[in-house]
Symmetry: C2
């Protein structure tokens, strides 16, 4: 399976890779109903913003296949939106499909929803592929200037294939470089408390890219011993000023990269740019369940899920349109229609 | 029990707090023989450089009580040294006791070893108490200048009572300030992969000091949201130039403190200063068992145990003789006899 989600061979059911079984087991799941899709999203059998959005869109298509009425559409929307209430992409995808099908006669709704979900998946694949293409020359040039083989790349969390449909974001340049024959080694931070680094290590291993998992704290040591040539991470949200909201721990890596003169790149798909927001400091950071941290019972715990890396620590934003400076002007130059 | 190790009420056995049962259970252990002492050290029922040293010294006293011959002394030395081959304090303590007893007639050896071990413990307690006294005014002044109550302190790993005999090093100023009525709150980093932060949280809770455990990665977020007024950590080894070797993850906190203009202090007992070494960059960092990280089977893992924080990121070294600048001159001024 080369995509994390795809249409089944029967032409209507949906096949996904069950990420809750990874990295222990590579298990495929068949989604044949609204409830199957909702359960898969809710139980985190798939994760990553674009993937959740596409899964929601296919969930709507499955629902409309069974009940294409206005009431059926409304019920499907509320079931899907309730699965991950804070997932922005999920709401966006469901609203987008709804806008494409609500005006149609009931019997045309499900096919239109399938088409829209498929187009969304294709769009994401194209965006990720282009991020890989724009990132590849950066890695190739660094391998020359750093005079190192393999080139030492550091990443955080999972911004790979598993968080998208294909290629991934931060890992797209890595996969592109690997495919082009550039020798690489990736330092994978385990990414407490949910250990998404384990997924990244699994992905890289499956693709044959040499890698080593380290604790999040080990980054400082690796930088100070000259073991890192470049950092590439993903982003959950980038402001129009270039501040990067990403998995907690990203900011410390950016500070260390700056202190050691190492480039720090962020793979930022256009849809992840929040044009309504200038400053990352204004973003409310989600505080997640303290139980995730696994502290002894009774221990007071705080569990912020993200942090903000200010634009001035970001060497460049690798988008599907090219590499932008992390600034209002840098992003506006690539996305003039948004700025 | 106010000390992590002490002479039993029978006047000869040794009582320790079993740290391998913490924070689940507060269990005391009685050591009545060389083998008891060796097992306690080897199985990490006690940890922390000074504590291991004192335990080794008492182990020698117990051994000499059973067999005070030259052969008995030699055997006890090798059994104890084999428990934690890389623990510098253990070797130092055993050599020190040996030097005090080897020239004595056999029947005087065990009492002399007990006396020496007790003196070592008292010395450590006095050093830690004085670190607390020298650190207290720093915290008091910061509470005024930061205009914050409670004062927000961040620490890493466990450099508390449990790593010493009493008071601790990094936590000594915290305990002194708490006793003096200064309102404090401590951010405790979990300290992967061995989670010594759980021990720190347990200690602070037992002492009634408000605290919150966070992942190691959360430090960046806390700094960027203005939630930290001062960092205090311990040190495994400080060079005569003021570079600080401490638990991996310390360096990233020092970088973040510098970026945000927050003072970064290191509690550095005189015996932890390595007068033979100028640069921390020359220290070989111990690579520990990858299994500690708990990655899925087959994942390549690197597990460096320490990192080096360069002197220029250290606001001050809190020693038992006062607060030193982290530099050759700063340390030489406090320890002229060593410099």
């Amino acid at each position: 399976m080369t995509r994390t989600i795809r249409l089944g061979d029967d032409g209507w059911s949906i096949q996904i890779l069950d990420q809750s079984a990874l990295p222990r087991e590579e298990r495929l799941l068949r989604l044949a109903s609204l409830d199957d899709a909702a359960a898969a999203i809710r139980d985190m059998k798939l994760r990553g913003a674009p993937l959740i959005g596409v899964a929601g869109a296919y969930g709507l298509a499955l629902a409309l296949r069974a009940d294409p009425s206005d009431a059926g559409l409304e019920r499907a929307r509320s079931v899907l939106l309730a699965t991950r209430p804070t997932a922005v992409n999920l709401r966006w995808a469901i609203d987008d499909v709804t806008a494409h099908v609500a005006h149609l006669p009931p019997k045309e709704r499900s096919p239109a929803a399938y088409a829209r979900a498929g187009a969304m998946a294709d769009d994401d694949v194209a965006i990720c592929r282009r991020i890989g293409e724009h990132g590849l020359p950066i890695l190739r040039d660094l391998a020359v200037t750093a005079r190192r083989s393999p080139l030492q790349v550091m990443t955080h969390c999972n911004a790979g294939w598993l968080a998208a449909i294909e290629h991934g974001t931060a890992l797209a340049p890595v996969y592109a470089a690997h495919a082009a024959g550039l020798a690489l080694h990736v330092w994978v931070a385990e990414t407490r408390p949910r250990n998404q680094g384990h997924l990244t290590a699994w992905e890289l291993g499956r693709a044959g890219v040499p890698h080593t998992l380290v604790t999040d704290s080990a980054a400082g040591h690796l930088f100070s011993r000259g073991q890192v040539d470049v950092v590439i991470v993903g982003t959950d949200r980038t402001t129009r000023g270039g501040d990067v909201v990403n998995k907690v721990g990203t900011y410390l890596k950016a500070l260390a990269a700056r202190a050691h003169g190492i480039p720090f790149y962020v793979a930022a798909p256009g849809p992840s740019i929040d044009w309504t927001l200038l400053r990352g400091a204004d973003v409310t950071i989600e505080e997640r369940d303290p139980a995730e941290v696994g502290a002894p019972p009774g221990t007071p715990v705080s569990n912020p899920a993200f942090d903000v890396t200010p634009a001035d620590l970001v060497t460049g934003l690798i988008t599907e349109r090219g590499v932008a400076r992390a600034s209002v002007d840098g992003l506006a130059a690539l996305y003039p229609e948004k700025a």
